[in-house]
């Protein structure tokens, strides 16, 4: 196993206090010298999972590269809330070009940096591209796949909140089935987002057989940081897909962002794993398996499933998706459950 989560046995949680750990095991976020790559003062909503994910990921990437990092951003919430002119929250060299081209822009940056390195005009500077699920799985997918297949030296991070939240919560190809969005309203014979559509880009990334693919949630800081640091040990195309709850789009309480992330993982609806060159290498096990209702019920985007007459069939179909994930990604720790 590549990564051993540290258990804090007194409380049974993984969120161990750093004081109990050796310095090299402490999280980047707990490091006095963390870079605050996405600095305070930005304009994300309260409880924004994407702001949290970006800060964790970019700080970890900065740590892993000794601050020799360039970030490329797709259009979206992250870009908008971090850079209303003339302010910027970014403490890294950062470029935003368009909605659908972050992966290609990152390829260009990476190529330029390689030439600069060859000419000894610069040291080893690495590139991270980042975007939301719309900018990654939909409009940016062509550029993403191109970057993957050429194995360009770029770490692409997708912050997946399951929809176009910046434009007012419309459906993307990462919106889960049954979810209410502004373009998949809970009306008609099949309320919410249809079943049988959508795509899971981490699996598609694996199909490109790129050096490293991982998924993570903002609930597990250590795991997320570990994956970013590990990604930076590879050369070539790498992909990390981070589930980031959106209190506005999901209709959840701002203080429940981490809880929702944890529930997505613990129900099996969001598999957390790593893969190298197309093969699954590690699955983060579910600690205490929960039924999908636990995850769905607190979210207003699924409220239509829990009215006076609960949509038992629909909930069962969502449970079937979780069950399939558990089988497919080997998410169950047989001893713990």
């Amino acid at each position: 196993m590549s990564f051993q989560p540290v258990k804090f046995y007194q409380t049974g949680t993984f969120t161990v206090g750093n004081r109990l750990l050796a310095p090299d095991q402490r999280s980047v976020q707990a490091n006095m010298e963390r870079t605050n790559s996405l600095n305070s003062g930005h304009r994300a909503c309260q409880g924004c999972g994407e702001a949290l994910g970006a800060r964790y990921a970019i700080d970890a990437a900065m740590h892993a590269t000794n601050n020799q990092l360039v970030a490329v951003n797709a259009t979206g919430c992250l870009e908008v809330f971090s850079t209303p002119y003339p302010e910027t929250s970014w403490q890294v060299p950062w470029i935003h070009s368009l909605f659908g081209n972050a992966a290609a822009v990152a390829t260009g940056v990476s190529a330029a940096l390689k030439v600069k390195r060859q000419k000894a005009e610069m040291g080893d500077v690495r590139v991270v591209a980042q975007g939301g699920d719309g900018g990654t799985t939909d409009i940016g997918f062509g550029c993403l796949s191109g970057m993957f297949e050429r194995n360009d030296d770029v770490l692409y991070i997708c912050y997946d909140n399951g929809g176009y939240m910046n434009t007012g919560i419309q459906r993307s190809s990462a919106t889960p089935p049954a979810a209410r969005t502004a373009t998949t309203m809970p009306v008609g014979p099949e309320p919410g987002n249809p079943f049988g559509q959508g795509k899971f880009v981490p699996a598609i990334a694996m199909a490109h057989e790129i050096p490293y693919v991982a998924t993570a949630t903002v609930a597990d800081l250590r795991d997320l940081e570990h994956k970013v640091r590990k990604a930076m040990t590879f050369r070539g195309a790498r992909y990390i897909h981070i589930l980031v709850p959106c209190p506005l789009g999901w209709g959840t309480a701002s203080h429940d962002t981490l809880k929702m992330s944890r529930l997505a993982k613990e129900t099996g609806l969001f598999p957390v794993f790593e893969a190298e060159r197309g093969e699954l290498t590690h699955s983060t096990k579910i600690r205490r398996l929960l039924p999908v209702e636990e995850y769905l019920r607190p979210q207003k985007r699924f409220a239509h499933l829990f009215g006076k007459s609960p949509a038992i069939d629909t909930i069962a179909r969502l449970q079937a998706i979780a069950d399939k994930n558990i089988r497919k990604y080997d998410l169950l720790d047989k001893e713990a459950n």
Binding site: E79, W94, N101, V109, A111, C143, D152
Partner: protein, 418 residues
């Protein structure tokens, strides 16, 4: 060194001499030979310290160019036609961000109907994109303009399109004078970016800009193009000093002294026009031609000065604005504001239709007699047009237009490669 080579290869060698650092391209006719040429030079090691990236689309090509230029690399790409349209969002982005990318546009028609041959619809559709657009008349000028383009782009921090007629120039083998590496190095200093993604001095590029500053940012783009009006002739002069020949500049007149009739055109067509004019001059007709090299920025003052003494101007252009007529002609009219000169617009050479000396001769004869309508479609086959119009009048489901017309002209042959 004098060489007898294909236009595309001449451009490839010229770009290589400019010491590019990142080149990205997606294949599209008639641009392919240019990037094939450079690709081979990079792969063989002839061009050192350069990354050649085979991208998955033109949208990615321009996006890669944006990234590499912003990271401080001298960046080149080439495209044409549908490829240019596919990258449009990124084309505007590159100029908006002020990134000095140089791109060849091997001018080709835009579909539908799909057509691989030359006209100017592609680059002219990007007239307002903020890119500088320079049109080459010959392969020598295409080669020279690329060397000048890097200097111009980097001095202004603005992208430049070098437009050369697809096939007519790109695929023609002609004699060119290829400069030496020393000559190019003396003319073109290494790229020093105004903005760069550098961990030693982190900046944000591409921030969200609201109404409080957007107009100023856009105005400065215009201001840079106005500066280009001064810089383009200056660079052409420097080029002449270093390379010993006239190439580039804003406009170029031919036999304009005492000309009562002035033809205006862009690109390789100027050669045929000059031959026609020579014949007419020999017959005593006071006629000359003004070639526009810099389409953007548009040299209003120079055009105005060149046309001032004329009685009439005939703008021959290889594209048109559907629903109104001339595009270059509209700019020419702006230049002639307040001067009373008759003006005629001629749309010619669409989709690669040959523009012959014979047709031009007849056209200019009519113009000299002021016997031209305001808008002429040169060599349009009215029989075919009227037959299709009649078909549409007769039958509701008249079918696809282009395919009907192909049947009418007795050929269902569609170009094999596109």
């Amino acid at each position: 060194m004098l060489k007898q080579i294909e236009g595309s290869h001449a451009v490839a060698e010229a770009v290589a001499l400019c010491r590019p650092e990142v080149i990205c391209a997606y294949p599209i006719s008639p641009q392919t030979h240019i990037v094939e040429g450079i690709g081979e030079m990079v792969k063989s090691g002839e061009v050192k310290n350069c990354e050649f990236i085979n991208v998955e689309s033109e949208f990615a090509a321009m996006s890669v160019a944006i990234g590499s230029s912003a990271a401080g690399a001298r960046t080149y790409t080439a495209t044409a036609s549908q490829g240019l349209l596919f990258m449009v969002e990124a084309v505007y982005n590159a100029s908006g961000l002020g990134l000095p990318i140089v791109m060849t546009v091997a001018n080709r028609a835009i579909g539908a109907p799909i057509n691989i041959w030359n006209d100017h619809s592609d680059s002219i559709s990007q007239r307002d994109s903020g890119w500088i657009q320079l049109f080459a008349e010959t392969n020598q000028e295409a080669l020279d303009l690329h060397i000048q383009a890097f200097k111009l782009a980097e001095e202004l921090s603005l992208p430049v399109m070098v437009c050369m007629d697809g096939f007519i120039l790109t695929h023609a083998y002609e004699r060119v004078d290829m400069p030496t590496q020393e000559q190019v190095d003396a003319f073109l200093p290494p790229y020093e970016p105004r903005q760069v993604l550098d961990p030693a001095d982190p900046v944000s590029i591409g921030a969200m800009v609201g109404p409080e500053a957007f107009a100023e940012v856009r105005y400065l783009e215009h201001e840079k193009q106005m500066r280009a009006l001064e810089l383009i002739p200056k660079i052409a002069d420097e080029f002449k000093a270093g390379f010993g020949r006239d190439s580039g500049g804003l406009v170029r007149g031919y036999r304009l002294d005492d000309a009562e009739t002035v033809i205006v055109a862009m690109g390789s067509l100027l050669g045929t026009i000059k031959d026609t004019i020579d014949e007419m001059r020999a017959a005593g007709v006071k006629i000359g031609v003004l070639g526009v090299i810099s389409f953007r920025p548009f040299p209003l003052a120079e055009v105005r000065a060149a046309l001032k003494g004329a009685k009439r101007v005939v703008v021959v252009e290889k594209t048109f604005a559907v629903g109104i007529g001339g595009i270059l002609a509209t700019d020419i009219r702006t230049a002639m504001d307040g001067i009373s000169i008759l003006d005629y617009t001629v749309v010619a050479g669409l989709g690669g239709r040959p523009i012959t000396k014979k047709s031009l001769h007849a056209l200019f004869d009519k113009a000299v007699r002021d016997d031209l309508p305001a808008l002429t479609f040169l060599d349009l086959d009215w029989n075919i047009v009227n037959k299709q119009l009649e078909r549409e009048r007769q039958k509701r489901r008249s079918g696809p237009v282009a395919e009907n017309i192909l049947r009418d002209v007795g050929s269902s042959h569609v170009a094999q490669h596109s």
